[in-house]
């Protein structure tokens, strides 16, 4: 699904005008009158960003933002509000909002924020893709190769690994070469980077 701007605002005119303007600038938009209908319609393959009003009937913008994070939704969020204060801005940024815009919102700022959100999302997606690829490749390793990988990442030399696993240095080298080729890693530092990203992702 291509990048879409999801507008969640309880004011019909605001929704309509923003969608018209963004449409003219070539963005796809989908509109929601409240947080609940957005959550109800949400699908995990949605890409783009959410333009979120703070003060809405029912669940407010910050609560929706929190709920999205709790559910692991990675759609970037831009807050657009008519009455922002420091407290709500702080809360929004703690929940990793891309930007916090005040109504009436300036077109250039809005577009810049949307572009930043898209960029942030594609970086995130790219990273996610790499991680998933890496994990998929990890799955093809034999148990012995996984053991070797573990010790390589721990920074041991071939000779040490041979001693620990009680096999010949030559065998370690074979396992290591096969493991490197399966994981598509050309050097030890690259291997480290890839595995680190995986760990980091798992922690988040």
């Amino acid at each position: 699904m291509s990048n879409t701007v999801f507008i969640v605002d309880d004011d019909a005119s605001v929704r309509d005008s923003l969608s018209l303007l963004l449409g003219l600038r070539g963005y796809r938009t989908i509109l929601f009158a409240d947080a609940e209908s957005f959550l109800g319609a949400y699908r995990s393959d949605w890409r783009g960003c959410v333009l979120l009003d703070l003060r809405m009937q029912g669940m407010d913008g910050l609560a929706l933002q929190r709920t999205l994070r709790e559910r692991g939704v990675t759609l970037p969020v831009i807050i657009v509000t008519g009455h922002g204060d420091v407290r709500s801005a702080r809360e929004a940024f703690r929940q990793f909002a891309v930007d916090f815009l005040e109504k009436p919102v300036d077109e250039r700022h809005l577009v810049a924020a949307i572009e930043e959100a898209f960029a942030q999302q594609s970086a995130e997606l790219k990273h996610l893709q790499q991680t998933q690829d890496f994990l998929a490749r990890m799955a093809t390793l034999t148990p012995r190769e996984k053991e070797v990988l573990q010790w390589v990442i721990a920074g041991r030399h071939n000779r040490e690994i041979a001693e620990i696993l009680d096999i010949s240095v030559r065998t370690v080298e074979v396992h290591k070469a096969r493991m490197m080729s399966k994981l598509d890693a050309s050097s030890i530092p690259q291997l480290m980077r890839m595995s680190l990203g995986t760990l980091e992702h798992r922690e988040r």
Binding site: V14, S17, L21, R55, G82, K103, V105
Partner: protein, 560 residues
């Protein structure tokens, strides 16, 4: 001193600062004569009425209220008031006491007294230029101290003069001074607040307004009854039951503030004067009784001043609460204006993009149409808010409730007929309320608009369980008027009932979310309240808005 006095004299003539109708009494000199003559007559009468158990047949009595009249007169009319004061004192000496000395002595003594009282009046005025001698406890104590010290100084001069002209033996100088000091300071202390309250039209009106209720009659009767017991029933000369007088006095002071205390102390004094006049009292006991009366008066005044102060703070607090609400209003205003502004700026930006493309002219027209709709919406917001901000200053006036409701309800009755909503107004009590008509109309309009929108939602439902209905009920109690605006719409969830009074809490897509917040602010500014209750009647759910307005709205502060 004289020089400073001359410099001050213009402002000391109480023309602009004292909100009084002076011109009539002050500028044409001839017209002032009746006032001066009345003053002299009243002065002589007071002197005569209080000339009880005098010491050595001189102007040394246990209670001497006439100087209080003189001081108030000088405070009001400036130094020129000292001349009738002199005439009054001299006339009293001649009429009441048949001039104990010769003409020269009378003139000298009257001169000493009138100069002394005028100076005391000037000092009092200097320290409270706005005439608020009794407004705060601190003012009251300062005034008391001036009275006590001032009468000591005047007494020293007067009694010395008595000795000098040979009317008082030198060995009685000290006793005479003490008699004079107590009599004068007690007399001024007790009588001056009363004369001050009565000395101009505005204060007189306030005095009468404060006292015009049944409580005044009851405590006055209690006071007279106690006085009767003290002097007539208990025939011993120790006046054991005198302390019971505290009871009605504390009652008066705590209910009506300083004015109540002043009034009840005046009754007490009048009672003492009558008792003394009819010789019910032993020679020395009036002096003792007067000291007790002084203590009672002191307690009453202190309570009265404290009560006034407390009522004023309460009124100020209400004002502050109103300001807080106004702050929330500002937030709400920002929100309400920002929504259409956001739409406006986005539509305008869209127009900019469309304008270069001839093939998109139709769409441009549509966008322009929506843009002008937003302008309309913005101006609606402003108009609705203007209602509140235009009436920012509360102006209270007596308004008959029935008139008010007739005007407010008329347009809603039409609407009810057209849309088939039952709109019932139960008979309203025939009362007149002191309120800001514009503001209270806004409250009722908001409540009714709210109710109509609620029941309209109901009738939009596919199968309304019951006919939409709105009802206005009212109840009158001693102190307040309660008006309920009841609807049988969908109601409000129990846990968000209070939220309806928060700005932007509207559950309506097009609502301002401000009406109820404003309404509550207005109700509270009138010393009333606005509350919401859920209804679970057999006729359906819905809500009841309860507006309470005090029947004496505005007393004690808003008008100040």
């Amino acid at each position: 001193m004289a020089c400073r006095f001359l410099k001050r004299s213009p402002s000391w003539l109480p023309v602009p600062s004292c909100h009084v109708s002076f011109p009539v009494m002050f500028s044409p000199k001839l017209k002032q004569w009746p006032v001066e003559i009345a003053f002299v007559a009243l002065y002589v009468f007071l002197d005569w009425a209080s000339y009880l158990s005098p010491y050595e047949g001189l102007n040394l009595t246990p209670w001497n209220p006439a100087p209080a009249l003189g001081i108030v007169h000088v405070i009001r009319y400036g130094w020129r008031g000292a001349i009738p004061l002199f005439v009054g004192i001299a006339a009293s000496d001649i009429v009441v006491r048949s001039m104990p000395g010769n003409w020269g002595a009378t003139l000298l003594l009257s001169g000493v007294l009138s100069a002394g009282y005028a100076c005391l009046a000037w000092m009092l005025k200097r320290h409270s230029p706005d005439g608020r001698f009794f407004a705060k406890p601190a003012d009251f104590f300062r005034w008391s101290i001036w009275v006590v010290i001032g009468s000591l100084i005047i007494g020293t001069a007067y009694v010395s003069a008595l000795v000098a002209v040979g009317l008082l033996p030198l060995d009685r100088w000290l006793t005479g001074l003490i008699r004079y000091w107590v009599g004068d300071s007690v007399g001024i202390f007790i009588a001056m607040p009363l004369f001050w309250c009565l000395s101009d039209a505005a204060r007189r009106a306030q005095f009468v307004q404060r006292l015009a209720n049944w409580e005044t009659a009851v405590y006055s009767l209690v006071m007279l009854a106690v006085l009767w017991i003290v002097f007539m029933v208990d025939t011993t000369t120790s006046y054991r039951y005198f302390y019971i007088l505290f009871l009605p006095l504390v009652w008066a002071a705590s209910r009506q503030g300083l004015i109540g205390a002043v009034f009840s102390v005046s009754i007490l004094q009048a009672g003492l004067a009558v008792a003394g006049f009819h010789q019910y009292l032993a020679d020395i006991s009036l002096f003792e009784l007067q000291l007790r009366a002084f203590v009672i008066a002191l307690v009453g005044f202190i309570i009265g001043v404290a009560i006034d102060e407390q009522q004023r703070s309460a009124a100020e607090l209400r004002q502050t609460a109103r300001l807080v609400v106004a702050g929330e209003m500002a937030g709400a205003l920002a929100h309400e204006v920002n929504q259409p502004l956001t739409a406006l700026s986005a539509y305008a930006a869209a127009c900019e993009r469309l304008i270069g493309h001839p093939e998109k002219t139709t769409q441009l027209g549509e966008v322009l149409q929506r843009l002008s709709n937003e302008v309309q919406r913005l101006s609606n917001v402003i108009r609705r808010l203007r209602d509140f901000f235009r009436t920012g200053a509360t102006v209270l006036e007596p308004v008959p409730l029935r008139d008010l409701m007739r005007d407010v309800c008329a347009p809603f009755q039409d609407q009810a007929r057209q849309s088939g909503i039952g709109f019932h107004i139960d008979p309203l009590p025939d009362v007149e309320l002191l309120l800001d008509r514009l503001q209270v109309e806004i409250v009722f309009r908001n409540l009714l608009m709210n109710a109509f929108e609620a029941v309209t939602e109901l009738s939009r439902a596919h199968q309304p369980a019951h006919a939409p209905e709105i009802r206005i009920l009212s109840r009158l109690s001693v102190k307040k008027l309660t008006i309920d605006v009841v609807d049988n719409g969908p109601g409000v969830p129990e846990d968000s009932l209070e939220q309806v009074f928060e700005p932007f809490a509207s559950t309506k897509s097009s609502g301002l979310g401000l009406g109820l917040a404003i309404s509550r602010a207005i109700a509270e500014a009138h010393g009333g309240s606005l509350a919401i209750f859920s209804r679970h009647a057999p006729g359906g759910r819905g809500v009841c808005f309860r507006l309470e307005l005090p029947l004496d709205a505005g007393e004690g502060g808003i008008r100040e």
